[in-house]
Symmetry: C2
Amino acid sequence: MPVDHNEPTPLYRQLAASLRADITAGKLEGRLASIRDMAADYELAEVTVRKALDILREEGLITSVPGRGTFVVR
Amino acid sequence: MPVDHNEPTPLYRQLAASLRADITAGKLEGRLASIRDMAADYELAEVTVRKALDILREEGLITSVPGRGTFVVR
DNA sequence: AAATATTTGTACGTATGTATG
DNA sequence: GCATACATACGTACAAATATT
């Protein structure tokens, strides 16, 4: 359960925190699910997923390539 | 003319660059125009102005306070 | 004190463009 | 050419904090 609408923390921060935890724990490697799929899986808008990924990209944890996907930086 | 739709550079980056230049040159101090006003002045969507401000906030050049406004960090 | 206006923050939806395979 | 995936940009609505009347 990566996000909870009843939490006061913004959804995009919750998702970023969840992904960050999985990445730093080594549980998430290689290519992430597409933004569209993550939005569908977590029942979030694509823009909300993008905001979460923006944070992780800023932190240097991931990198995104149009047409290919989003990848954990190793 | 801070932004040009014919430029290949994204509008939010153009606006960020323009504001950054004015701030570092000391031409912009204190409180910035509200997001709504900037959007109207530059004929941009509010989200586009917000993305520009996100960059400058990340760079530590500005700070925003709900209900008050956005301010140049001095 | 209370209502109103202003301003930023979050979140949704949609459309179009660009890059890759 | 077509499908997939990220990027940009528009619009809208509501919440929260602050300031004003």
